[in-house]
């Protein structure tokens, strides 16, 4: 694969975590990429200060998803619970990293969950974000054998004419070299006339990996259409760069909720 546009080597991969199974799924994917890229794995647990701030309002109720119980919001309790969740996530990260022989670090970031999360991993070249499942406990476990018959990971990558997008494609290619993956390159032309050029550029950059890649076109930066594409192609992980219009035009959480798969943001 051509390394054109890949810029520099990925040394650190940050992963945003909370206690939900979905974010732990994101951790597993990030760990897999870290192994493939021989990078350090950094866990970032974000404590939402907005949540703590609202805790003083007496009429607010907390609805627990597992038990459906309700309780008043209590700042101290919330802090204790957040610390417990962070500790649990750290142990999980430590365990995963030890199994895979990865260098790892962990930190807790307190701030505005949505506004600050992208800045939380400033030192990382890649930032993995699992879908935080607000209703995760209500969701079923996997059906008996309803899983892929192969272990091939379907990796989607958003590609436009930006240099950052070329780097995202490069990262996806590197993952593909070390892991059996099926690449889905999602072209984001600014105009229909740009599609052919982007396709050519992508194929050129993919080099020998072009045979295991599929190329599709996404018109515009519509998160809903991207979500449908993710579903149609069975994409397990989506890689995009931090300048991608998807992130700028749609709130991050909304995008994640719609996509339904972990997202890896390249810087």
């Amino acid at each position: 694969m051509s390394t054109e546009g890949s810029g520099r080597r990925v040394r650190r991969i940050a992963v945003a975590l909370d206690a939900s199974p979905h974010s732990l799924g994101g951790l597993e994917l990030a760990a897999g990429i870290a192994v493939a890229l021989d990078a350090e794995l950094e866990g970032v647990f974000v404590e939402d200060t907005d949540l703590l701030r609202t805790a003083g309002l007496p009429f607010l109720r907390e609805f627990r998803t597992a038990t459906l119980c309700e309780s008043a919001l209590d700042a101290e309790r919330l802090q204790r619970e957040l610390r417990a969740a962070a500790r649990r996530v750290r142990e999980h990260l430590e365990h995963s990293a030890a199994e895979l022989g990865l260098a790892w670090s962990f930190r807790v970031w307190r701030g505005d969950l949505e506004a600050e999360i992208l800045g939380a991993a400033r030192g990382a070249e890649l930032f993995a974000l699992g879908r935080i499942g607000r209703f995760a406990p209500l969701r079923r476990s996997r059906s008996p054998a309803a899983k892929s018959r192969t272990d091939v990971l379907v990796v989607g990558v958003l590609f436009n004419r930006s240099a950052a997008a070329a780097r995202a494609l490069s990262i996806a290619g590197e993952v593909g070299i070390r892991h059996p993956v099926s690449l889905v390159v999602v072209l984001q032309p600014e105009a229909p006339s740009e599609t052919a050029m982007l396709r050519t550029k992508a194929l050129e950059q993919l080099g020998p990996m072009r045979d295991q890649a599929r190329i599709v076109t996404l018109g515009g930066a519509d998160a809903a259409r991207l979500a449908a594409l993710v579903k149609d192609f069975g994409i397990d992980m989506l890689i995009l760069d931090d300048t991608n219009p998807i992130l700028t035009q749609t709130p991050l959480w909304t995008s994640l909720e719609r996509l339904g798969c972990p997202v890896v943001i390249g810087r």
């Binding site: 109720r61 619970e81 008996p144 309803a146 899983k147």
Partner: protein, 811 residues
């Protein structure tokens, strides 16, 4: 009339080798080579032919008479032509795992079904995995899941939108979420909230309360939606599993269409597989994680699909006929089968595949042969056998269950119908004891097959014997017997029967003799066994066993045991006793003495007085008292006091075979006539003075002969035997030779008078028309002596009477 001694030909009945048309047993066809007993075999045929409850057989007779071989042979002949019993299998009971079901199948089908079920399980793994990995299944389950998720997200989205309209957002907490008011996209803290106008605060609080109510409603709906979705998935799972198994089970149902029990079982399997389809999926899909930890499968436990196995308890060859089974160890669990256990994680566990068949299962539909003594020696085995025969079903229960020693939960296999003919083998006394003491015995064992110890001797049975010898030769790979050797075996057989007109049916003894003769022929370097080898085997058997008889003889010769074999003595006679030690019988002489004096008519048997005499011996002594009282001094009270004793006898004495000798000693003492000590006597006597047959005549004669021969050359010694025992004589060749040379004599006597004449050399004398015995005859002397005793007693009594009256007058 004087009794003549027997001639040599009377002492032994030869078997003429010339009667055989063969030179050696190599020319004989052995065949079954069993010495049949017609009466017993009629009973066997009746017993196995009658098919009603309780008509089981008890073959009674001494061991070694070939009961087992004869009965087994008869049963196998009949069983060959009988229907092969069904196969029996135990299968899992899907309704109650502790009560495995018994399944009856045509012969040979058990193993086939087992193979088919094993294959079915393998096919099920493939088929079920296949359907659950199919695109169809994935698509359909995802559709259901997405429907749920969409429903949830739609509801939450609606609430989120509603909240947004009212400047409220959803926030995630570590364990759930909450609703919070926002201004400019930021949640409001308490200070900011308090800074708002009161009206605004009230509105926000009202909005949030309203949204929380909506949220509450939605949240409480979600478990119901999930439940409904789970049910849809489960229904889909069942549909997929059923689709996977249906064709496989249908194929088997078609194959076993004529066996409703199998089809029913297969339908149960089908339902069970659908209920438990997850067990056919890869390991990680079977077990839900426990507290987040994946539980590894236990390595040594039974695989789950164990339940679909077929435990072929009993399989038959469809061309094999009915079974004939010998229970060599008829313990309770060997009869009814057992349930094995295996240790797993420190506990004992079991299942239906560990049910094992017992002898009754194996014999079901056929015949079970069991040794009565072995059966009775096993705890509860006899009770169990009776109970099962009465119930007509085999219920597998352990002894612990029967005796309530343990009450842990165990298997209770479904009982199997029992249709078996039991043949018990045992000694006669066991049969009679069971008959007398166990009321159920006669209900369950109605056919007695009584085996005789002897068979008629004649050309026909001689040939049967020859065939038996030939069969033993072939079975044991021995040298062949020439016809003289066969004849010698037959002669020895008659000797073992103690009867020259009978042959023993104790085949084990004959078999031993045949094998030992082969050994001696080998040591002599002969290719074919001769009569000399048979005789050598007989002699060697005696030599190995006769230590005690030799010691007794030695002590007699050395004078420790006082036996005279020459001269004459009053009131002393040589009696003959037989001892049996370790299967070897031998005779030896015993001195019997009698002393008489005036008394009150009692004959004292010292053996009886010291309780060394058995009841039969005591009876014999009382009989001779009756004889004396009935023959002598008829008009006088019997005024005799006599004592009889077996000298140097220190053990118990039983039997009445010495009663004649005791009588001769008593008559000698009364008549004061000496008895020839060169003669010995055996025989019992009745009150009429007739001499009656006794047992062991050959051993007794040989015992006295050996005692005499040990002291030096024989000179007219001999033995008086009952004339009715002559047909039992099968004496040794050296005795026959001594008799021929006149050095030894055997006198068959029929009456006391014949015996006393030989012993005393004096005429016995018969009572004449005048009521008196001839002068100087033995009887006359006895009569006179007893009359003399009586008169003397009368005289003494009258003298005492006078003395008493004088004393009275004096007073």
């Amino acid at each position: 009339m004087a009794v003549a001694p027997l001639k040599p030909d009377d002492l032994f009945r030869r078997c003429d080798p010339a009667q055989f048309a063969f030179e050696t047993t190599a020319e004989l066809e052995a065949g079954d080579a069993l010495i049949t007993q017609d009466r017993a075999m009629h009973a066997v045929r009746f017993g196995i032919g009658i098919r009603h409850a309780g008509y089981n057989l008890f073959a009674l007779g001494p061991s070694g008479t070939g009961k087992y071989a004869l009965i087994r042979n008869a049963l196998e002949k009949r069983a060959k032509g009988e229907a092969v019993p069904p196969d029996w299998c135990y299968v899992f009971n899907f309704e109650d795992a502790h009560r495995p079901r018994a399944m009856r199948l045509p012969p040979g089908k058990g193993a086939e079904l087992k193979r088919d079920m094993g294959q079915l399980v393998e096919d099920l793994h493939r088929a079920i995995r296949g359907v659950f990995e199919s695109d169809e299944y994935r698509t359909r389950t995802q559709a259901v899941e997405e429907e749920l998720e969409e429903r949830q997200e739609r509801t939450m989205g609606e609430i989120r939108e509603l909240a947004k309209e009212k400047d409220v957002i959803l926030l995630q907490t570590p364990t759930g979420f909450t609703l919070a008011p926002v201004r400019n996209g930021k949640p409001l803290g308490p200070n900011e909230f308090q800074a708002l106008p009161e009206k605004e605060r009230a509105r926000i609080e009202e909005d949030i309360n309203s949204l929380q109510t909506e949220m509450r409603k939605a949240l409480h709906q979600m478990p119901l939606w999930k439940k409904h979705s789970d049910e849809q998935i489960e229904e889909l799972n069942r549909e997929m599993a059923a689709a996977a198994i249906q064709s496989l089970v249908e194929a088997l149902c078609e194959k076993y269409g004529e066996l409703p029990a199998v089809v029913d079982y297969l339908r149960q399997v089908e339902r069970d597989v659908v209920d438990n389809f997850r067990q056919f999926l890869p390991e990680q899909d079977k077990r839900p994680p426990l507290l987040g930890m994946w539980m590894p499968p236990s390595g040594d436990g039974q695989p789950w699909n164990h339940r679909y196995r077929i435990n072929v308890l009993l399989g038959h060859d469809k061309n094999g006929g009915a079974p004939v089974v010998y229970a060599d160890l008829p313990a309770h669990h060997q009869l009814v089968g057992r349930i094995e256990h295996r240790a797993h994680l420190g506990a004992l566990e079991t299942d239906f595949t560990m049910i094992r068949a017992g002898a009754l299962h194996q014999a079901n539909g056929g015949y079970l042969i069991v040794d009565a003594l072995k059966l009775l020696l096993q705890p509860f085995a006899w009770e169990t056998l009776k109970r099962l025969l009465q119930a007509r079903e085999i219920r597998i229960e352990s002894l612990a269950q029967i005796t309530s020693l343990i009450s842990t939960l165990s298997l209770e296999p479904e009982p199997i119908p029992l249709d078996v003919k039991v043949v018990m083998l045992g000694e006669r006394h066991i049969y009679y004891l069971l008959y007398q003491l166990d009321p159920e015995f006669s209900e369950l064992f109605k056919v007695a097959v009584d085996f005789d110890e002897e068979v008629e001797r004649g050309p026909e049975n001689d040939l049967v014997y020859a065939r038996f010898v030939a069969s033993e030769v072939r079975r044991a790979g021995l040298r062949h017997f020439d016809r003289a050797a066969v004849a010698r075996v037959i002669e020895q057989s008659a000797r073992l029967a103690d009867d020259n007109e009978r042959l023993t049916s104790h085949m084990r003894s004959i078999g031993d003799l045949v094998r030992e003769a082969d050994y001696w022929a080998g040591t002599a370097g002969r290719e074919t066994i001769t009569a000399a080898d048979v005789q050598r085997a007989v002699d060697a058997q005696i030599e190995r066993a006769d230590r005690i008889s030799r010691r007794l003889r030695e002590e007699t010769t050395r004078g420790t045991i006082l036996i005279e074999t020459a001269g004459e003595r009053v009131g002393q006679v040589n009696g003959l006793a037989v001892m049996t030690l370790g299967g070897f019988s031998f005779g030896h002489p015993t001195r019997i003495t009698a002393r008489v004096r005036l008394g009150e008519g009692e004959v004292i048997d010292i053996e009886r007085e010291v309780k060394l005499g058995g009841p039969l011996h005591s009876k014999g002594v009382l009989i001779l008292q009756g004889f004396i009282a009935g023959r002598y001094a008829l008009d006088y009270p019997l005024s005799l006091s006599a004592s009889l004793v077996f000298e140097q006898s220190y053990g118990g004495i039983e039997g009445d075979s010495a009663s004649a000798a005791e009588l001769f000693a008593l008559l000698s003492a009364l008549a004061d006539r000496p008895i020839r000590q060169s003669l010995a006597v055996t025989g019992s006597v009745n009150q009429l003075g007739e001499i009656q047959a006794i047992g062991g005549v050959n051993e007794k004669i040989e015992g006295f002969y050996d005692t005499c021969a040990a002291r030096g050359p024989l000179d007219g010694q001999g033995v008086l035997i009952p004339a009715s025992n002559v047909k039992h004589l099968m004496l040794r060749a050296d005795i026959r030779e001594a008799v021929e040379q006149g050095r030894f004599g055997i006198y068959p006597i029929e009456t006391v008078d014949e015996g006393i004449e030989i012993l005393t050399g004096t005429q016995a004398g018969a009572r004449g028309s005048d009521g008196c015995f001839p002068d100087r005859s033995v009887n006359q002397r006895v009569d006179d002596r007893l009359i003399g005793f009586s008169k003397r007693l009368t005289e003494l009594q009258s003298r005492e009477g006078k003395g008493e009256s004088n004393e009275g007058a004096g007073e």
